[in-house]
């Protein structure tokens, strides 16, 4: 029998958003006991968590694992490993692979690969439309029964409003959320946020209405159809207003933002570093502040990585030629911790809630709990830790991060999922 005692950590309850100093005993992959001072447990490995928080494992609603099709950038196994080591015990794999995940067989392929790998649990997201072409409904029902947790044509917006309406209506039968990548192609013609910085750097600009107007259409369709909508990677203030407006009207809408939008603005583009090319583009300081406020007040209820690996050769090109995307697992917790907790926007239990409980609710999955009888699914967070993010800390197959060379605050010290215990930094 394997026994591990997580001793004297502050155990986070993401529903109540509180933390209490408790011992947690895990036996054979299940939580055997939770309580103050469980005392010496014979035969148990003891992990001193006195300066740490113990929280349910994180659930990432948005990542790209690139398999099938782009295995040189990432595989399901490498991505799931990077996720688990970074505190994400469950990740939603976006379906914009090659071929796109638009059938029952492909959904099963993703699940099987992830099971074989045995790291983080991979929750497949299926395409809304066949081939992700935005023309015909995909077999949402069949994919749902094969295990798809949500549906999305992420990477592109479903331009045809009539089709999007049918996607939302149809997904309702299976109680599946539709995740929308909001981007009006006719406006989003650039690689940077339209404005002063793009003008000065001579980069083609994409203005904020490209995102906000797309979001406005989709929340209206969600209201019309009574379906559940999730807005991916919110990057600008106007989209926050759209979501707020929709909530006030009772629309079932949830939303996520990503670390880079909370930490960086378009002013970082001065260097033309292609690792800063991301879609939607980095926006202005006013947008960044609006996003922080929206995360704090719950308008943006979820935090996701949009982990988007690209091999070195794809990014070693001119800014405009580089594919958009930033790897996200390794740095996500620290960047959220720095921008939200250290900047007093949310508490640490509040951050955990946005990383596990709220995303689970989006998918209608049970919220992982640290309670007797539950499966072990937990992370140990060291809020005092400082660490340096260099290439040796990259867990993904790709290294496209603008945060390389940055000192990070707060880190995930250990992760336990089932019987598997991992320590990300080898600590």
């Amino acid at each position: 029998m394997s026994r591990i005692l997580f001793a004297a950590g502050r155990v986070v309850d993401p529903n109540a958003r509180t933390a209490r100093r408790l011992d947690v005993l895990v036996e054979d992959g299940r939580i055997a006991a939770v309580g103050p001072r469980l005392g010496p447990v014979p035969g148990a490995e003891r992990l001193d968590c006195r300066n740490c928080f113990v929280a349910p494992g994180f659930l990432d609603l948005h990542c790209h694992l690139r398999e099938p099709g782009r295995e040189e950038a990432e595989t399901i196994a490498s991505g799931a490993r990077a996720a688990l080591m970074s505190g994400f015990t469950q990740v939603c794999a976006m379906p914009n692979t090659d071929p796109p995940i638009d059938s029952e067989a492909l959904v099963r392929f993703v699940s099987r690969r992830a099971e074989e790998a045995g790291f983080a649990r991979v929750l497949p997201v299926g395409c809304c439309t066949k081939g992700r072409q935005g023309k015909e409904l995909a077999e949402i029902g069949a994919m749902r029964s094969a295990g798809a947790v949500a549906f999305s044509d992420d990477g592109t917006w479903i331009e045809d409003a009539g089709l999007m309406r049918r996607v939302l209506e149809y997904a309702k039968t299976f109680d599946a959320v539709v995740m929308t990548h909001c981007e009006l192609a006719a406006l989003a013609t650039g690689t940077a946020n339209e404005g002063m910085v793009a003008t000065r750097l001579g980069l083609r600009g994409s203005p904020w209405p490209a995102e906000a107007a797309a979001a406005a259409r989709d929340v209206m369709l969600a209201e019309l159809t009574g379906s559940r909508l999730h807005v991916c990677h919110v990057s600008c203030a106007a989209t926050v207003d759209v979501i707020r407006w929709a909530r006030a009207r009772g629309v079932q809408v949830t939303a996520e933002t990503c670390p880079h939008y909370l930490v960086l603005t378009d002013s970082a583009l001065e260097t033309f570093d292609s690792n800063l090319r991301v879609n939607p583009p980095l926006r202005t300081e006013a947008d960044r502040r609006a996003l922080l406020a929206a995360v704090a007040d719950g308008t943006i209820d979820c935090l996701a990585t949009d982990h988007a690996p690209h091999p070195a050769e794809a990014k070693a090109v001119e800014f405009d030629s580089a594919p958009p995307g930033i790897i996200g697992f390794e740095t996500a917790f620290s960047l959220f911790y720095e921008s939200l907790v250290l900047k007093k926007q949310v508490t640490l239990p509040g951050l955990v809630a946005r990383l596990c409980a709220a995303p689970a609710r989006v998918l209608n999955l049970p919220v992982p709990e640290i309670a007797e009888g539950a499966e072990a699914n937990l992370v140990v967070i060291d809020p005092e830790a400082k660490w340096f993010f260099d290439r040796s800390r990259v867990l993904s197959l790709s290294r496209n991060s603008p945060f390389l060379g940055r000192t990070m605050h707060g880190r995930v010290r250990a992760v336990m999922l089932g019987t598997r215990l991992v320590s990300p930094l080898g600590a």
């Binding site: 793009a198 000065r200 750097l201 033309f272 070693a316």
Partner: protein, 310 residues
Amino acid sequence: MNFPHRHLLGIEQLGREEIVTVLDLARKFREVLDRPIPVVPALRGKTVVNLFFEPSTRTATSFNLAAGRLSCHCVNFALAASSAKKGESLLDTCRNIEAMRVDGIVVRHPLAGAPHFLARHLKAFVVNAGDGCHEHPTQALLDAFTLRERFGDLPGLKVLIVGDVAHSRVARSSILCLTRLGAQVSVCGPPTLIPAGIEALGCDVFYRLDRILYEVNVVNMLRLQAERMVAGMLPSAREYRQLYGLTRERLAGLDPATVILHPGPVNWGVEMDYDVAELPQALIMNQVKNGVAVRMAVLYLLAGGQEEAA
């Protein structure tokens, strides 16, 4: 000499003093160009490569001549960016060229930031000869040189840049260069061709040419690309000429002391009527001539030439 830079990527990186250093040195080289044998041995033994991913006649030739007049070896390398895209990456191309032992690379590229990207990865010095809609520093320097030649000092000088500012690297570099030298710069064009936030570079914006044209000392007319009509940014070249062209009618009202510049090549009958070519205040050919001197100064400063040899 006050020029602490390894590369010339843009005017953005240059302070006033450094701009003046280039322009003062260019004046010396301008004298060289008037000698019976317009060559000095300043960069003997050095090699630069002209790497042009966009078609160019005058800029490539100008750099080529500038290098030659400094006794610097110059190799021309013209590539279509599209074919380069299919095969070799920009970085691979440049690493291969660098491996053949060159001291500097003069690069023109359709994408903003390409020279900055190369400067980060190469040991050779990099001169930006135009990157996308970003910068074209030597053009801005030769414009400033030409204006100094005519007006002496630039503080207080009123300069108007007219046309497709959105897609113009000349406009961006010129605004930065001239404002740093103390001139007062305005831009004028249709709102579809004026980029968001351009005022932040330190210029005023006008949408009606006739409201500002007659109040300036210098008018710099930009080239209008036919693609802008195709992209639906303008209804027609005809309407553009009427609203923003330096037409015969407008020339009639223009003070003969007002200097006319154009970065070339001119679309006669669109941004300017052909009558301009005959006007003594049109300094377009002076710009071209001065371009060689300015580029000599730039190559000299970056390649580490011998002062006495100049």
